[in-house]
């Protein structure tokens, strides 16, 4: 940090970017700058796709789209023409025609145009977007070769069942390809081209193993163990010790889970678990906010931020999946349960062994320091003055997202999980950032801890007299969760 600061030139360049585009006073500037930019002979660049983009599964199909448009349109036509002049082309043509003749629509398909066949990809060679190379089942006969899908088939959707009975190494599950869904969300994982199948499965398998290893390590070495007690905080029931995830579940962790669901063909669960920008809260969002949230929920740069816009059912599915991941690597004799905490457990964890403490933060307060200007949680401060340099507000520069409160004030958003000091149980963000789901014995959900948009009273450990979410726990940008783990 020591050294020269930014130069005036750098600041001026940055100031230009920050100009208010809506202001007519700046129209002339932008028009002039754009004329200048488009009239200059800048260094010409080639279409370039880096290796990292090919393996960046959370990157949206910018590269795919442009590569397809520029390269595939030329090369694919050539290949197509060549293939139909060769023996292989005859096979393709035959396979394609036979597939068309034998077009079987499963009654479970929602789209009657879908074609169902069994395929096994036996090679890892790259295929073009509308080819499948490998072994497949057609009319109950195993065949091998290359099948080419037509544009209309790709457009209307193809259901591909990868059947495990073909070989031990075959992938299993079903995928739905749809060209009609152009949304750049994690749903783009549905636009899995067949040649990517092996790569994606390998990636998810590795991520699951990593996550399992991380969880195992965390459990044995670092995961906070909340001791059992007889209602030390507000709860009079006896509670067994449990482990608690140290941070709110992040976007990155949640996306591994979603991708795994897709690749396992658990589409109903995926549909329940995915972030819902299209829910009732989503109708309140501006286009700008929606764009931001889509970026937040799928961008690599937000992978360490807490996941939002998920339903309680989605959170439960994540816990169930995490339980599968851990159980797969745990000793057979151990019983592992991953679930959402109940209110008493959450409160006890937040208190950190300190009776009558008000907030689940490092110091038990949300502002500390001589002038009370150190913020220990990300929440909405309601008054500001010259000295209010809010640690929570630096999330504005991190996220670049804005949501206006009902008063029209610009507010900030979440911060990276775990950047504020932990409480004595080494739990982070037990106050603020995102409100965390808890569930009671009857299965009713509520939230604890407050969020980035909450005023301070909602960050308290104890319940308030009124709820922050009178409409219930719905997918929205304020609510996340963290699981607890029982190991017997």
């Amino acid at each position: 940090m020591e050294g020269s600061g930014p130069s005036i030139d750098e600041l001026l360049r940055q100031s230009f970017l920050e100009l208010d585009q809506a202001s007519p006073a700046n129209d002339q500037l932008f028009d002039a700058a754009s004329q200048h930019v488009f009239s200059q002979n800048w260094t010409s660049g080639k279409v370039h796709v880096s290796a990292s983009k090919r393996t960046a599964f959370y990157r949206l199909p910018w590269v795919w789209g442009l590569s397809s448009a520029l390269i595939f349109s030329g090369i694919a036509t050539l290949i197509y023409l060549l293939q139909f002049n060769t023996e292989e082309g005859d096979k393709i043509s035959t396979a394609t025609n036979q597939n068309k003749i034998n077009n079987v629509s499963s009654s479970s398909n929602t789209n009657s145009n879908l074609k169902t066949n069994d395929y096994e990809q036996t090679t890892e060679s790259k295929s073009a977007n509308d080819y499948f190379t490998g072994t497949y089942v057609e009319n109950k006969k195993i065949k091998s070769g290359t099948v080419k899908f037509t544009k209309s088939e790709l457009k209307n959707g193809i259901q591909i069942n990868l059947n495990s009975s073909l070989s031990d190494s075959a992938a299993h599950g079903s995928l739905l390809l749809s060209e009609s869904d152009n949304k750049e969300t994690v749903l783009s994982a549905k636009k899995i081209v067949i040649s990517d199948e092996v790569q994606k499965r390998t990636f998810v398998k590795q991520e699951r193993e990593k996550l399992a290893a991380k969880i195992t390590t965390e459990i044995t070495q670092r995961l906070p163990l909340i001791p059992g007690a007889q209602g030390p905080y507000n709860d009079k029931t006896f509670q067994v010790p449990f482990y608690m995830w140290p941070t709110e579940v992040t976007v990155g962790e949640y996306n591994v889970f979603l991708l795994d669901l897709l690749l396992q063909g658990r589409e109903d669960e995926y549909e329940t678990a995915r972030p819902h920008l299209d829910g009732s809260f989503g109708t309140l969002l501006s286009e700008h906010d929606k764009d931001f949230f889509e970026r937040y929920l799928t961008g690599k740069e937000f992978s360490d931020y807490p996941i939002v816009f998920i339903s309680p059912e989605g959170a439960n599915l994540y816990c169930k999946w995490m339980q599968e991941v851990i159980s797969a690597s745990a000793e057979a004799s151990r019983s592992i349960i991953v679930r959402l905490p109940n209110k008493g457990e959450w409160e006890r964890a937040a208190a950190g062994g300190r009776p009558h403490i008000e907030y689940g933060t490092f110091s038990g307060t949300i502002k500390s320091g001589i002038l009370h200007h150190r913020f220990e949680a990300n929440f909405k401060e309601t008054q500001q003055n010259d000295f209010d340099f809010l640690l929570g507000q630096h999330s504005e520069t991190v996220t670049n997202g804005h949501i206006k409160t009902h008063k029209g004030e610009l507010n900030t958003f979440t911060t990276k999980a775990g950047i504020y000091p932990a409480n004595p149980y080494m739990l982070y963000d037990m106050a603020g950032n995102v409100s965390e789901m808890v569930v009671d014995r009857k299965g009713h959900f509520s939230v604890k801890g407050g969020n980035w948009n909450s005023s301070s009273e909602f960050l308290r450990i104890r319940d308030n007299d009124f709820t922050e979410f009178p409409l219930g726990i719905i997918p929205c940008p304020f609510i996340g969760f963290r699981p607890v783990i029982n190991i017997n």
């Binding site: 940090m1 020591e2 050294g3 020269s4 600061g5 930014p6 130069s7 005036i8 600041l11 001026l12 360049r13 940055q14 100031s15 230009f16 970017l17 920050e18 100009l19 585009q21 006073a25 002339q28 500037l29 932008f30 028009d31 002039a32 700058a33 754009s34 004329q35 200048h36 930019v37 200059q40 800048w42 260094t43 010409s44 660049g45 279409v47 370039h48 880096s50 990292s52 910018w62 590269v63 789209g65 442009l66 448009a69 520029l70 740069e301 320091g369 001589i370 200007h373 150190r374 010259d386 000295f387 340099f389 640690l391 630096h394 520069t397 991190v398 670049n400 911060t415 504020y420 000091p421």
Partner: protein
């Protein structure tokens, strides 16, 4: 403009055309002026192109220049967000003990944590200037030639160089009044050098 709108209706054609007409230039601009690396630059270009194709029908453009300006502004938005993200990528929380004897801005960390108060100060200083002075400074930041700027501000080109130099010096002096502190990872409060 009619021809452009026709091209934009076909998505594949639109993407190719936008790429050829504007994409390369935007990449060159981002690399030359903002020192963006090539991969990131292409990512921004692609985002812009796709977004333009997606939303163009919601707007009306008087002519091709206005359309180009629209594309440029969209790119600027993506570029701005990218630079902000890059600046704060490694940001962490650090508690800053505020010295109540000095009314100074404090920074949380390096990158935009330091730049933000300086940027705010610069904006405040720019607002004090006359319009033509502000335009001159900002246009030169985009490497627009003096000859072009002269047409907009209605001042002789030869004088603009002198004005520009004087304005920059004046800003430098005013910005040096801003002291910036930060806390290193070891917890030591250190002074950040002033704007150069």
């Amino acid at each position: 403009m009619e021809k452009i709108l026709d091209i934009l209706k076909d998505k594949d054609k639109a993407i190719s055309w936008l790429f050829e007409q504007y994409g390369r230039k935007l990449l060159g601009y981002s690399k030359a002026v903002y020192k963006i690396n090539e991969d990131a630059g292409w990512d921004l270009v692609y985002k812009t192109i796709y977004k333009v194709q997606e939303v163009y029908s919601r707007y009306q453009f008087e002519n091709e220049q206005k359309f180009a300006s629209f594309i440029f502004r969209m790119f600027i938005n993506f570029l701005k967000n990218h630079i902000r993200d890059e600046n704060t990528r490694h940001q962490g929380a650090t508690f800053i003990p505020l010295d109540e004897t000095r009314r100074n801005f404090v920074a949380v960390n390096s990158g935009s944590g330091i730049a933000n108060p300086m940027l705010s100060r610069l904006r405040a200083e720019l607002d004090k200037l006359e319009d033509w002075q502000r335009i001159l400074l900002l246009m030169r930041s985009q490497e627009v030639a003096y000859s072009e700027i002269a047409r907009y501000v209605n001042k002789p080109e030869e004088q603009l160089k002198v004005y520009y130099s004087r304005l920059k010096n004046m800003l430098s002096v005013r910005m040096q009044d801003l002291h910036v502190e930060a806390v290193s990872e070891t917890g030591k409060v250190i002074n950040i050098n002033k704007a150069s």
